[in-house]
Amino acid sequence: MVQQDKTADIHAVIRRGKRWDYLFAAIGLICLAFGLLTVLVLVGKMGLEGLDRLSLDFFTSYPSRRAANAGILSAWVGSVLVMLVTAFAAVPLGVGAGVYLEEYAKKNWVTDIIEINITNLAAVPSIVYGLLALGIFVYQFGFGGSILSAGLTLALLILPIVIVATREAIRAIPGAMREGSMALGATKWQTVRYHILPYSMPGILTGIIIGLARAIGETAPIITIGALTFIAFLPPLPLVEGAGLFDWVMSPFTVMPIQMFNWTSRPEEAFQINAGAAGFVLVVMTLGMNALAIWLRYRLRKNIKW
């Protein structure tokens, strides 16, 4: 009899406990659905709006005064080229700094201050980077409102992301790998080159792509350094018609978000449709980059186990 009472008590306790389980699961699901739905509706509405304009012509036409002829050629080419410069600048700097901080820097107060500042840099509003770049790259270095200026500005912007991703990826490597390498007489650099970099590559690549995905949507700093809002020519192809290998980096440019912003500020209804289409393309580009990051991480991690 006593045993039965005990069992009944336990059942009651479990029932009461589980009530909260169900309640929380329901609340969580609602939160998730709310967030997801909002995004889906926004992207869907934009996509639907711009659907009429999404044709090959849209990608191969320059902007135009007539909405029906206007396209995003100069914008997407500009975005791709700016990302190229950003990646070339941010990756070596960010990965190098991350590796140095994790593997070489002595753990003292100077390193602590640098660490805190890197975290803070990630929180600086992007417009501030724009102002900084206007002073330094555009005027001081004389790069002007060029692809180079924009790429370097965005590189600064995502540098903290790349550094932090590099450090986290390195920290996830078990100390046993480092010890195993050093115990065989390897130097620090040999350990970094043969173990630390290859094993942290999936995490670093993910960080780089997430950073680039953020940079590709940035508008404020690019406007600040003086990107054009209307441009009907492409940067010179390298080594074509007398152009040098790197002449394109000094070319004026526009990027996707600016093109979009330009169209949304027009009074004509037809341009709103263009803006929707451009926005949809931009979102697809960003999602595509994130998908690439996930795929790369999955592929590379398959060969790394400890």
Binding site: P174, A176, M177, A183, G185, A186, Y199
Partner: protein
């Protein structure tokens, strides 16, 4: 103990060795010889400093800040003090190999794992690498199991095979002294037996220092045994003598299981 009376020459010798983790003293004035081509076992309860002592020999403590050595470990035949600040720890690790508690093969192919020590030394000749990898895997009694799949990833091997791979990796660089830090504590009894057998063969060509918290293992495989307790070396001697008639009461208590 006078090394001259011993049939085996001394390979290395700790002299008044103190070691500090920051302010905490982990080893206290240890004097102990390692005899050439003999197996020396370090036993003692957890936290007694046996792994700390072992890791002094290849300067592993240099990898972490705040660690400090005092005293010497003299390495023969050239009388190098391994702990001297003038001796590069990398040079020390090039002469002294180490096998860790948990098998730690690199996430690379079996071949690359064994070849790594040679690559670090700048060896690029494919022939030399091939020969050396084969020889090392044979010496580690692993060749027959892996010769057809040298390109396979090392983590696909069983735990015991991984540990033998780590031994092959250490052997490939012809170490003069091989350190084993509880090499079988993560392995099943059959894998343990194969590693013990391997060590018995290896001592023909290399001096071995092994940390173990398995006293039967120490009794089975070692020629000399050191009992450590709270950072002190309590007793050092021939394994038979330590286990049959220990001189120190504390050693006797530990061996008979009254102290764990």
């Amino acid at each position: 103990m006078n090394p001259n009376q011993h049939p085996y020459p001394v390979k290395a010798e700790a002299r008044k060795l103190n070691f500090f983790y920051g302010l905490v003293q982990a080893l206290k004035a240890i004097d102990m010889p390692l005899y050439e081509r003999q197996v020396t076992a370090l036993i003692g309860p957890s936290g007694c400093g046996k792994s700390t002592f072992l890791r002094c020999f290849n300067r592993m403590h240099d990898l972490y800040p705040g660690n400090r050595y005092e005293g010497e470990i003299v390495f023969h035949p050239d009388n190098t003090n391994l702990l001297s600040t003038e001796v590069d720890p990398i040079e020390v690790r090039m002469r002294i190999g180490m096998v860790f508690q948990k098998p730690n093969p690199f996430p690379k192919s079996i071949f690359e794992n064994v070849a790594y020590g040679l690559r670090v030394r700048g060896e690029r000749n494919r022939r030399v690498l091939d020969d050396k990898v084969e020889q090392s895997l044979k010496d580690a009694a692993l060749w027959n199991e892996v010769k057809d799949r040298l390109k396979d990833m090392a983590f696909n091997l069983s735990g015991g095979q991984q540990q033998r791979l780590c031994i092959a990796r250490a052997l490939a660089t012809d170490p003069e002294l091989l350190l084993f830090d509880e090499p079988t504590s993560a392995l099943d009894p059959i894998a343990t037996a194969s590693i013990e057998e391997l060590m018995h063969d290896l001592k023909k060509r290399v001096t071995i220092l092994i940390v173990t918290h398995n006293m039967q293992q120490a009794a089975r495989i070692s020629d000399h045994t050191a009992y450590m307790y709270l950072g002190d070396l309590i007793e050092f001697g021939k394994t038979d003598e330590i286990f049959i008639k220990p001189r120190d009461k504390r050693t006797e208590d530990y061996i008979t299981g009254r102290l764990s």
